[in-house]
Symmetry: C2
Subunit: 557 residues, 2 copies
C-alpha cells in the first residue's frame, strides 16, 4: 500500500488557506499513486489554536472545511485523506470539542478517531479544551486495517518510558483489538498511523524516532508519524515525519524544518538519510521560527539593533537566512560607552551579511534625558537608572523605525541573560520575537561558529572579545555574573531541570552560596520575562507559556 | 459546634510566614472556643503556586510545614485545624502531587481529602499539576461528622448550573455516603466544609453565595466555605468566606477583601450584613490587588504618570488608598501637544490626593530623538512613529525614576484600550502592574465617581472632558474609535463572551462592518497584550493567563 506523508505548514485560523494546501498536497499524492494521504494533527485549523477552540464559529468553520476536503475524495481513484481537525462533542457534560483524526474517502467522513491522551504539561493545555476519547477502533482503507492515533496517544509506551504519565496506552489497546479481530484481518501487516503536532526541542527528533522504533518493534507493526512543520509564535514544529518498519528501520523520512511530501510503499525496502546534528537542527529551528513568525504576522522586513556583540550578530545572521538580506536592516546605536571596535564590528557584520546598516548615535538623546531628570537625580551616582536609560533609548529608536517603516524588531537577548535578568525591560528586550531567548550564551557561540561554517559571517573579533553590555566605562558581563561556562550549567539545572541549590552545588562542584546568588537573580527577574517577546523554543524548558511562575512570591532557595 | 473561618492572606512560597499566620489565627480561634479552625485551599503554600508545584523541594517544604502545624494541635483542648496543602501522590503513574484538605488534630494528620474536580479553564491550570481524587470519605471532629471538599468540588451542583463541567458531583456523593452511615451518625446535622481559593470577578461573591445556598437547601446541610483573601499577581481573592444554614440563611460571613477570623456556632441563629455592590467590590479588589502586588514584590512606593486624563487619575486614587499618599509619586510629562488644562488637571489631582507631583516636560528629548531620526525620517509625514515616540519617552522617564528610587511604575491603560490596541507598547504600557487593565472605559467613569464618593479626589474637569491621548494636535479618542458607549459593549461581547461579528451586530443593533473593524483591531493587537504588565482581574474574562490566543494567525471575522 502506498501512503503519502503530507507534512504541511498550516496557519492557525486560516481555514481557506489550510484547505487549499491540503487539497494541493492530496492532488500531488494522487499523482504518485498513493492510496492514503496523511496530514498532521489539527492541520485543518493549525496548531496550537489555543482559546480559538472556545469559539463556536471557529469550530463551525472547521466543520465546513472538513466537508470541503471530504468532497474532493468523492471522485473515484482518488486517495483517502487522513487529517486532523476539531469537532464538537455534542455531549451534555464536559468539554465541548474533541481533537480528532478524520478519515475522508468516497466524498464523506468514513471514520473518526478522537484523541485519547491529552497532554497538559510544559506548553500543552489540551485538557483545557478537549474531551478525551473513551474508546478507539480500527478502520480499513483499501483492504488494509489501520490503527489510528493522535500525537500524545503514542507517547505512553511502557517499554520506552521509565514512568507513565497516563494509565492507558492507546497503541497497546488498539493492537489488542487487532489481535481479537477475525483471522483474515489479523493476518494483514500491522499498521499504526500517528498524526502529530509535536513541537521541536533540541534532540527531540532523535527521541521521537527511537520511541517510534521501540513501538514498531514491540508491536511488530509499521509505524507512520506525520508531524506538522512550521513556526507558530514560540513553537517551531520540525516536521521530521517518518515511517518505521517492524524491524525498526526507517522506511521513509520527510524533511526537517520544511514542508514535504513523501510517498512510500509499506511493502518495499528503503534506505533513508539520517537526521542532522543538534546545532544544525537548532539553527534551522530558529531560522524557520523567525521566518514563519514574521510571515504569519503579515510582515516581511525586520530590524536588528547591532551592538557589535555576538548575540545581535547571531540574530542578524539568522534573520538573513530566514528572510533574505534585503529584508534586514541593522542599526548601530553607539553611546559614549561604546568602544570604537564595537561599531567597526557591527559594520563589518552588516557587510558580511550584505544588509543595510544605519548608525544612530544616542549621546544627544541621552544627554537630553539626563537634563530633564537632573532636578530629581542631582547628587545621585551614575547607576542602573542611567545604564538602563541608554538601552531604552535604543529600544525607542528601533520602535520608531518599526512604526515608520512597517518592519518588526527582533530581540537579541539570550537565555542566560533572560534567566538572570541581565537585560533591560523596554530596552534591549524590545521586539516582536526573542529569536535566541531559549539559547544559553555558551550555545550562542556554537551557533555562531555554525553561522560561519561556509565563510565568515559573524566577525572573528565579535566572537573572540569578552562579552560586555557597554553601558558604563570598561564594563564586562563578568563584573556582575560568573563566567558563562560556570553560569550556564547552573541555569540549565535550575531553569530546565528544577534542581535545588544544594543539588546544583553538589552536581557541579560550585559553592552553594554562589549558586544561591544566581538562583536569586532568576527568581527576581520573573517580572521581566513575563513582559518579554515570545521566545522561540528550542529546549525542553524555555521561558514563556511552558514555564509558569508567579511574580509576587517569597521563595526560599 | 463552634467553627472558626480563618480567612488569611498567604504569600506564595513563604512557608515560614504562612505557617506563622496559620498558627496565629489558630491561637485566636482557640481563645474563642472553636473546636475546628478552617483555612483556605493551599493556604500552607499560597495560591496559585503554579509551576513551583513541579519542584520537589517545594512539595517537601509543604510537608514540613504541615508537620509543624500538626504539632501545634498536640496540646489538649486546642482546636482541630483544617487547612489546604499540597502532598505527593506516591503513584507510579500520573501527576506527582495532589491538592488536599488536611485535618490536623492531636498532633498529627487525622484525615486527608484530596481534591476531586480540578478546574482547567480561564486562569485555572490544575490538571497540569494535580492528580484528582478517585474517592472521598467522611471524617469526624468532636463527634460531628464532616463532609470535606476542596473549592471546585462544590462547583458542579446539578440543581444550580444549567450545564455540568464534570460527570461527578463530589458533594452529592459525600451526602450519599452520609445517608449510608449508621443511623446514629446519620442523625447528626449535616455539615459540608469547603476550603477555597476562588478568585474574584465582579458579581462572583453573589454567585458563590447563591450556589452555596442552593447546595445547603438541596442537601439539607450547613455549608461552610473558607476562601483565601489577597492579591497574587493578576488574581485578587475576595475572601467573603461564609456559612449558610440548611434553610439558606447566612450564619456567618467574613469580610470582603481583608483578612478575617469569624467564629460561629453551628447550632445558633445569626444575623449577618449583606455584601457590597459591584462598583464598591471592584474598587476594593483593585485596591487590594495593587497593595498586595507591591507589598509581596517587596516594594512600598509607586510612580504614576499623570496625563490629566481619567485613567491615570483613577489609578493614582487607587494607589493612594492601597499604599498611602506618601508612597505615591505623580509625574506629569507634557509634550507640545498636551493642553494646558491637562497639566492643571494633573496638578489638581495630585493636590486632592495629597501626593507629590513632579513635572518632567518631554519637548526637548522628543526634539533630540527627531533630530537623530531625521536622516531616515526626512520627507515622511508626522504619524504613528512620532505619536508613539512621545509615549515611549514618558515610559523611559518613569522607568528611570523607578530604577533610581526603587519604586514600581503602575500602568494606567484601561481594558477598552488594551482590547483595541489604543496604547503604546513600551510607552504607556510600561509598568509592573496594569491596575485597571480589566476595567472598560465606561466602568472607569463609574469607579471615578466612586473615588469621589466622600469628596472630590478626581477633578471634575478630568471626568468631564472628552478622552484624548494628546499625541498630536486636537486629538480625540473618537478620531480613531467609536464612542465608548458603543465600543465597550462590542468589546465585552467579543472579548468576554466570544460572540461572532454577526451576533454582536444583531444583539446591539450596530452595523456589522463597524463591528468587524473593531474586532480586527482586537485581533491585531494580541502581540501588545502578550507583553503587557499583569492585569488585575475583575471580570470573568480578563487579558492575561485566562485568555490564551496565538499572535501569528489569520482569522476570519
Amino acid at each position: 500500500m502506498k501512503i503519502a506523508l503530507a507534512q504541511i505548514n498550516p496557519t492557525v485560523g486560516d481555514f481557506a488557506g489550510n484547505v487549499q494546501k491540503i487539497l494541493d498536497y492530496a492532488a500531488r499524492a494522487a499523482e504518485s499513486g498513493a492510496a492514503l494521504v496523511v496530514f498532521p494533527e489539527l492541520s485543518v485549523c493549525g496548531y496550537p489554536p489555543a482559546d480559538f477552540l472556545e469559539k463556536k464559529d471557529f469550530v463551525a468553520r472547521a466543520g465546513s472545511a472538513i466537508e470541503e476536503i471530504a468532497a474532493w475524495t468523492a471522485e473515484s481513484g482518488r486517495p483517502a485523506i487522513l487529517c486532523g481537525t476539531v469537532m464538537p462533542t455534542g455531549l451534555e457534560v464536559g468539554k465541548q470539542v474533541r481533537n480528532v483524526a478524520a478519515l475522508l474517502s468516497g466524498g464523506g467522513v468514513q471514520f473518526v478517531q478522537q484523541k485519547m491522551l491529552l497532554p497538559f504539561y510544559d506548553v500543552f493545555d489540551e485538557q483545557r479544551y478537549f474531551e478525551p476519547a473513551v474508546s478507539q477502533g480500527l478502520t480499513i482503507v483499501d483492504g488494509q486495517p489501520l490503527a489510528i492515533t493522535v500525537c500524545e496517544d503514542a507517547w505512553n509506551d511502557k517499554g520506552f518510558w521509565p514512568r507513565q504519565m497516563y494509565a492507558v496506552d492507546p497503541v497497546d489497546e488498539l493492537m489488542r483489538q487487532w489481535d481479537a479481530q477475525s483471522s483474515e484481518q489479523a493476518a494483514k501487516p500491522r499498521l499504526i498511523l500517528n498524526i502529530s503536532a509535536s513541537p521541536f526541542w533540541t534532540g527531540k527528533p532523535v527521541v521521537r524516532q527511537k520511541m517510534l522504533a521501540a513501538i514498531a518493534t514491540r508491536q511488530n507493526a509499521t509505524v507512520v508519524m506525520v508531524n506538522q512543520v512550521g513556526g507558530n509564535d514560540s513553537l517551531v514544529f520540525d516536521g521530521s515525519s517518518i515511517a518505521i518498519a517492524p524491524n525498526g528501520t526507517v522506511l521513509a523520512r520527510a524533511a526537517g524544518f520544511a514542508e514535504d511530501l513523501v510517498v512510500f510503499d509499506t511493502e518495499a525496502e528503503a534506505s533513508v538519510a539520517s537526521t542532522e546534528d543538534d546545532v544544525a537542527a537548532m539553527w534551522k529551528a530558529l531560522v524557520l521560527g523567525t521566518r514563519d513568525y514574521v510571515r504569519k504576522c503579515g510582515f516581511s522586513k525586520v530590524l536588528v539593533g547591532l551592538s557589535g556583540g555576538i548575540d545581535s550578530a547571531l540574530v542578524a545572521a539568522i534573520a538573513v537566512e530566514a528572510l533574505g538580506a534585503e529584508n534586514v536592516l541593522g542599526v548601530g546605536m553607539p553611546s559614549e560607552y561604546s568602544s570604537l571596535g564595537s561599531i567597526d564590528d557591527a559594520r563589518k557584520l552588516a557587510k558580511n551579511l550584505g544588509v543595510r546598516f544605519e548608525l544612530l548615535p544616542i549621546h544627544d538623546v541621552f544627554a537630553q534625558y539626563k537634563g530633564v531628570l537632573e532636578p530629581l537625580f542631582a547628587g545621585t551616582p551614575f547607576g542602573l537608572a542611567e545604564e538602563n536609560l541608554q538601552s531604552r533609548i535604543r529600544g525607542g529608536l528601533l520602535m520608531a523605525l518599526s512604526n515608520k517603516f512597517g518592519s518588526l524588531v527582533l530581540t537579541t537577548g539570550n537565555k542566560s541573560e533572560m534567566a538572570v535578568g541581565y537585560c533591560t525591560l523596554y530596552g534591549d528586550m524590545v521586539g516582536a520575537l526573542a529569536v535566541i531567548g531559549d539559547v544559553m550564551k555558551t550555545k550562542v557561540y556554537a551557533l555562531s561558529h555554525y553561522a560561519n561554517r561556509v565563510r565568515e559571517m559573524i566577525p572573528r573579533a565579535t566572537i573572540e572579545k569578552p562579552p560586555s553590555a557597554e553601558l558604563r566605562p570598561e564594563q564586562r558581563d563578568t563584573d556582575s555574573l560568573p563566567p558563562y561556562d560556570v553560569l550556564d550549567p547552573i541555569l540549565e539545572a535550575y531553569v530546565e531541570r528544577y534542581c535545588s541549590a544544594e543539588q546544583i552545588a553538589a552536581e557541579q562542584g560550585v559553592n552553594v552560596s554562589l549558586v544561591r546568588q544566581v538562583l536569586q537573580l532568576v527568581e527576581r527577574s520573573e517580572y521581566k520575562r513575563q513582559q518579554a517577546a515570545p521566545v522561540l523554543k528550542v529546549t525542553q524548558k524555555s521561558f514563556g507559556m511552558g514555564r509558569r511562575f508567579p511574580i509576587a512570591v517569597k521563595v526560599q532557595l
